[in-house]
Symmetry: C2
Subunit: 274 residues, 2 copies
Amino acid sequence: MYPRIIGTTRIYGLIGTPLRSAKSPVLLNTLFAEAQSDAVCIPLEVGTGDLSGFVSGIRTVSNLAGLLVTMPHKQSMLDLVDVLHPTARQIGAINVIRCDSDGRWVGAVFDGLGCVLGMQRQGVTLLGKSVLLVGAGGSGRAIAFAVAAAGARSLIISDLDPHRALDLAQCVAKQGACVVHAGPADPAGHDIVINATPLGMNPADPMPIDAERLSPTTVVVDIITRSEPTALLLKAQSLGCQTLDGHPMHLGQALLALSFLGFEDIERRYSSGL
Amino acid sequence: MYPRIIGTTRIYGLIGTPLRSAKSPVLLNTLFAEAQSDAVCIPLEVGTGDLSGFVSGIRTVSNLAGLLVTMPHKQSMLDLVDVLHPTARQIGAINVIRCDSDGRWVGAVFDGLGCVLGMQRQGVTLLGKSVLLVGAGGSGRAIAFAVAAAGARSLIISDLDPHRALDLAQCVAKQGACVVHAGPADPAGHDIVINATPLGMNPADPMPIDAERLSPTTVVVDIITRSEPTALLLKAQSLGCQTLDGHPMHLGQALLALSFLGFEDIERRYSSGL
């Protein structure tokens, strides 16, 4: 299903580069079409140095109702919106902007909450769980805060750069929501293991964790959205683990972004189907 | 049929205000979908004072492949493109911009040629005909040049403002393609009568010509694109005249614009169906 585009259609741009593999336009346009919303999501490929020029120009478009923000603009966009949603302030990034009718742009980020919602929609709850998060980059940072806020008992953060892992662990620990430490990428003894590194995007990548040490009771989440399962997920499945690829997170993000953008009806429809 | 929008989809914006009644997105998107082109046309509502800011910002979008330009930007856009197609130089307006991969923007206008193509596609040829054109505004200006170039024997241009009619008649006469004069809106004795005024957009509008003086052999063209026939067309039909509303012109414009934008396949498919 695709939206019917007429003169009054509200535009939601996906801004970033490269966008060749972007999945948001198909997902959002399907949701818009199902809900018969007069809205469309289109890719807008903009390079790093062009962001502020793009923003000042596109602000003149009165039917631009929102932007989804992806690499490499998630951090630089912080300075170009008028209001930061608490999520954006906490995580220091933006993945969605609501263009209000008074001209104000409000930036938020739902990478982390979307991951948690995606897990919940697959029956995986965080409450009281011991979680290993591998990768303390942009996505990992957002997921760490959301996992802690969702009631995990403990969170170990691992990264190839131990300083980055330690820094993130200290930031999340300050929220006081759960016990957080930096540590090795050892899955043994954890209820949930989340890969938030890019390892697995290419078939030749090494594993982000020592998968031999997975227990069959561990849930393995890989946030990579490919059509084929990553090597990590294949190995985990062979050991009997429940696995989640990046699609539940992507849908979770989209539902939260849509709710933030004013499409509460779409978010409700999907949430009631939990 | 609607286009499937993915990360690589090329964007064709329709820029103007107001766009509530704009028909180009539906027409172009149907043509794109039929041709399975990875392209989409979206409305971008931009006000008068915002044009140059919009243009400098949107030039950063690397998958923006073209713009359709409508009121009130058709003249002001002349200063904001890099190259003027001969049609734009002649008529002093732009209704389509091709954004070339080297960053250059080429502006053209197909209002007039589109009207002639639309007439031809309905079996109405201009060669050797006596034509009355009512309305010497933006559309009328484009149509006058195209009618003369298509081989009309004579062209009378009428306007509520006689100076505007005279000025346009003199400009077109300079091309030397046909006999052109300013004159009254009297349809008697003409093979073809074209209404290029807005009269008829609202049901309460007076007729643009004295329709009682139409002969049944006269073809009456009204460029207004409404779903209901205008009073002029209804009267002409009641007298036995062949009539054309604005839709053939709109399709003719779209086909010429698509050919200019590189979609020669779409234009060929429709032209072969003449």
